[in-house]
């Protein structure tokens, strides 16, 4: 039977279209009202609430927890002190990315990790012999993402510990009398927080947050609004922008951290003596420059996009354009249709007033400003539209990381 998150009882009456989708076997709302864009803007203008409970949650505890995670995770977990969180990835031995996730160090010997797909068996198999206990705590906690410029104004009413909380830091505190773990993290690229609460206390917490958010027009958002925010934030989504190497059939479907733009995680590799999974392959990739492509932002030339639709006799589609699927990119040249790479997420950014895409391109086409052709469909006809490489993220407000939020 399809599962319900600990917040479902409160979210169910908020779901005006009464449409539910399934996320990891849980009921999840694609939207709570009829306008995805209005929902999206609550994250940029006010404060939004997103139920992220269906993610898989794992607890690593024991004296070997740090040593174990330094071997299994590609990013150096030893740099993550108690009270900090890390965006991390794990790779296979061949140096291809399996998954990404956020890990929190809640005490010296205890970490909590969220993942999109099941990983308990994967981690446990690697942990044989180590003094680390790995538990699936997915159903023990509910997690709410409270995101947007007024997220602090909302949560600050419930705990004094929030205002001090810096980007990717966490605090264990109380809200409405219940224990919560709050991290300043999120999937929107904005000021925001994620709050873990024991499943039994979930409704108490929800009610308190909802009440606190009322004065700031707090809006429950669904997956569609979140997608817009995460693409603007340049955050990659598994099964859309990359695929788990564990379930890929060929290396053409797999990608390395460098190809996905996560090379920054290895900046200090020379002074990092860890023997982590995939290290040898990643070092070889760095040394030989064997990366096949880079992940970049793409901004569509609005005049060209407009022209193509005007010449076809139709209005230019903007609001509602959201393609989380592959679209081909070609070299601009006298020879047509020279395949160069692909976009994996394409959409109209209402905030940027621009069509943007997350794209994979070969090295010679990766410099910001480089012009390429993106294939779109205009009244059933394939056309290419001039686009330029830009830096990711597309939107990165100072408040996201500001020390004093």
């Amino acid at each position: 039977m399809v599962k319900r998150t600990p917040f479902h009882e409160r979210l169910e009456p908020l779901n005006q279209p009464e449409i539910w989708e399934h996320w990891a076997g849980y009921l999840a709302a694609p939207r709570y009202q009829y306008s995805d864009l209005a929902e999206y803007y609550s994250t940029r203008n006010a404060v939004s609430l997103f139920d992220t409970s269906p993610l898989f949650k794992y607890k690593f505890s024991g004296p070997d927890a740090e040593a174990f995670l330094s071997r299994v995770l590609a990013r150096d977990i030893r740099k993550c002190r108690v009270g900090q969180a890390q965006y991390t990835i794990w790779c296979n031995e061949a140096g291809y990315v399996m998954e990404d996730g956020v890990i929190m160090r809640v005490s010296a010997d205890e970490y909590w990790l969220t993942t999109a797909e099941p990983n308990l068996r994967y981690f446990r198999k690697l942990a044989k012999g180590a003094n680390v206990t790995i538990e699936d705590i997915s159903t023990q906690y509910g997690v709410l993402a409270i995101q947007g410029p007024h997220s602090l104004s909302t949560l600050g009413q419930l705990s004094d510990d929030i205002a001090e909380l810096r980007f990717f830091r966490l605090t264990q505190t109380k809200m409405a009398g219940v224990d919560v773990t709050v991290s300043r993290t999120g999937f929107t690229g904005d000021l925001g927080y994620e709050i873990w609460v024991a499943a039994d206390d979930a409704l108490t917490l929800f009610d308190a947050i909802w009440e606190a958010g009322k004065g700031y027009n707090m809006t429950a958002i669904g997956s569609a609004a979140l997608s817009i925010a995460r693409i603007e934030a340049g955050l990659l989504l598994i099964d859309v922008d990359f695929h788990n190497a564990r379930f890929a059939w060929t290396d053409a479907q797999r990608e390395t951290p460098y190809e996905l733009g996560w090379g920054w995680m290895f900046k200090k590799l020379h002074s990092d003596d860890r023997d982590f999974i995939g290290r040898a392959a990643i070092e070889k990739e760095i040394a030989t420059g064997s990366s096949r492509w880079k992940t970049v932002g793409l901004a569509v030339d609005w005049r060209d996009y407009d022209r193509l639709h005007r010449e076809a006799g139709i209005m230019t589609p903007k609001e509602g354009v959201l393609v989380q699927d592959t679209m081909s990119i070609y070299r601009r040249s006298d020879i047509p249709w020279q395949y160069a790479g692909y976009a994996s997420s394409f959409m109209w950014s209402s905030l940027k007033k621009q069509h943007v895409a997350i794209a994979k391109l070969p090295f010679d086409l990766c410099e910001p400003g480089t012009e390429v052709d993106l294939e779109i469909s205009v009244i059933r006809q394939p056309q290419y539209v001039l686009s330029r490489v830009v830096e990711l993220p597309f939107f990165n407000p100072a408040r996201k990381t500001a020390r004093q939020a």
Partner: protein
């Protein structure tokens, strides 16, 4: 001879392989006659209305392995082929525990997680590994196997190409193929799963119709063959043909006749007629002789080489191999007409749980015990049952509100140590019915009619030696290079113009059509 009726080709036996073979030959422009001994076509793929309104799939009962190219080549959809998907599979024990798996990835995850959270995750790893093995093996199902025993340069080149293909596979895929080919399914499942119930469910395909248990080294290959089928492009998925597998063979007949083929039923073939070292026709049991350039036997290898022709005219090593070829049927059918659906405690009123295979064989241990009985020449006291209630999907299988339940049962050894099947037929029926009553309390009360089909019945009615449902055991020693005999794995026989196209040939048993299709390819190639 001039007065005899004359065809380009005669196919002996109107089962699915005979009809597929005839279909391909007719499509190539040959004038083809299919001869069937029984009053209707279908062989072991028939649907019979034994009591008014209830359609019994007497023998085979589900479809998966039918080669997709046959469906296209013979235009089967045009002739009424309709494979109804099974939305669920149900695995249960007598303690009320169960696993219900369907089409949704995360529903399956959470369902397996009720038994083991690690197994739920392992299921994805296992499926991924299996998918890669299936993908690698599929081309081998659809080609004439090479002959490794021949010095003919063409055969040697063929063999070299095969080796190159196998060596070109990724090393872990090669390793897994080796393990499936030579090892037990229990050994493989132990690498992935911990729950006994999960392993029991996963292992059921490893024993179907074969005298082996999940711990026998033969079970890996039996498993692999059963998951090599596909439904709508999904490996390992099964479906019900509309009106049972008898409905499917009727489709094959229509397709064959539409291509200009002729079917004659109630016609037994006495022997293949040979002249100057060449097959020239058949003699019917009425004495009539029908001439043909090509004669194809869809019967099992024993009958093909030792009954339809004089074994004394065949090479002695071939006859030796055929004599050694193991049949030893071990499966039976017990089919029920039911007044209502069975009830599973806790899932009362749920029809959907019966819309696929209902698997009774909770654990590997259970299956091992059942096998032990068979080794000692007895019917399993607690048998493995693969139940299907097709009427929960196809309303034309039973009167409205009533149901037909097909039960495939193991182990029921052809050779009983201390009794015989004419005596034990109803004992088997009682064992199966009691087992079902343990799982589905009140089952006895809904039984309207029971049909018991023993291995002896399969032999007598369908004509397969010792009632083996695959026309011979699916042991590695009897597959691919050696099916049905070393050097004779390419559908030809020592007698020019005489071919074999039954399940005793590669790729083997199940309603697959592969042997029929590949034999036709070979015949047409030989005709040039």
């Amino acid at each position: 001879m001039s007065k005899n009726r004359k065809y380009d080709a005669i196919v002996i036996g109107g089962g699915h392989n005979g009809l597929v073979n005839g279909g391909y030959l007719a499509k190539a422009g040959l004038d083809v006659l299919v001869l069937e001994k029984r009053p209707f076509i279908g062989g072991a793929a028939i649907t019979e209305e034994l009591i008014p309104g209830f359609k019994f799939t007497t023998f085979s009962y589900a479809l998966s392995l039918i080669r997709p190219d046959i469906v296209q080549d013979l235009n089967l959809a045009e002739h009424g082929m309709m494979t109804l998907p099974m939305p669920n599979g149900f695995h249960a024990n007598a303690e009320g525990e169960y696993i219900l798996l369907g089409d949704d990835h995360y529903q399956n995850y959470h369902e397996i997680a009720r038994h083991s959270i690690e197994d739920a995750e392992a299921y994805d790893d296992y499926a991924h590994m299996l998918g890669r093995v299936q993908h690698a093996m599929k081309p081998l199902m659809d080609r004439v196997p090479p002959n490794p025993y021949s010095d003919d340069p063409a055969d040697q080149a063929d063999m070299a190409e095969f080796n190159e293909y196998m060596e070109g596979l990724e090393p872990d895929v090669q390793e897994m193929i080796q393990r499936f080919y030579t090892g037990s399914i229990a050994d493989i499942l132990d690498d992935y799963f911990e729950s006994d119930l999960v392993k029991g469910y996963m292992s059921s395909s490893s024993i179907i119709g074969t005298m082996c248990s999940p711990r026998s080294k033969e079970s890996g290959l039996v498993y692999l063959l059963h998951v090599m089928g596909e439904r709508d492009g999904i490996f390992g998925e099964w479906g019900f043909h509309k009106e049972g597998n008898g409905g499917f063979t009727k489709v094959l007949r229509r397709a064959f006749e539409a291509l200009g083929g002729t079917v004659e039923c109630d016609v037994g073939v006495e022997k293949v007629i040979e002249e100057n070292g060449k097959a020239v026709g058949v003699q019917l049991d009425t004495g009539e002789v029908i001439s043909a350039d090509v004669v194809v036997s869809s019967l099992d290898p024993r009958r093909t080489f030792m009954q339809l022709v004089d074994p004394a005219t065949m090479p002695s090593e071939l006859i030796g191999a055929i004599e050694a070829f193991k049949f030893q049927g071990s499966a039976s059918k017990v089919n029920f007409a039911l007044s209502d659906l069975p009830t599973f405690p806790g899932l009362e009123g749920r029809t959907d749980i019966f819309q696929g295979f209902t698997n009774i064989g909770p654990t590997i241990e259970y299956l091992e015990e059942a096998f032990q009985d068979a080794l000692e020449g007895r019917i399993s006291k607690r048998p493995f049952i693969d139940g299907c209630i097709q009427s929960t999907i196809d309303p034309d299988m039973a009167p409205a509100g009533k149901h037909i339940m097909s039960c495939f049962v193991m182990y029921t050894p052809y050779h009983l140590a201390e009794s015989n099947w004419d005596t034990e037929r109803e004992t088997l029926g009682d064992i199966v019915q009691n087992t079902l009553n343990d799982i589905f309390p009140g089952f006895h009360d809904i039984v309207l009619h029971r049909e018991v089909v023993t291995p002896l019945d399969i032999e007598r009615v369908v004509g397969i030696t010792e009632g083996n449902i695959f026309q011979g055991e699916l042991f590695a020693s009897q597959m691919f290079f050696n099916r049905p005999a070393p050097g004779w794995n390419q559908y030809r026989t020592p007698l020019s113009g005489y071919y074999q196209c039954g399940s005793g040939n590669h790729p083997g048993g199940c309603v697959m059509g592969g042997p029929g299709k590949l034999a036709a390819q070979q015949i047409l190639k030989d005709r040039g």
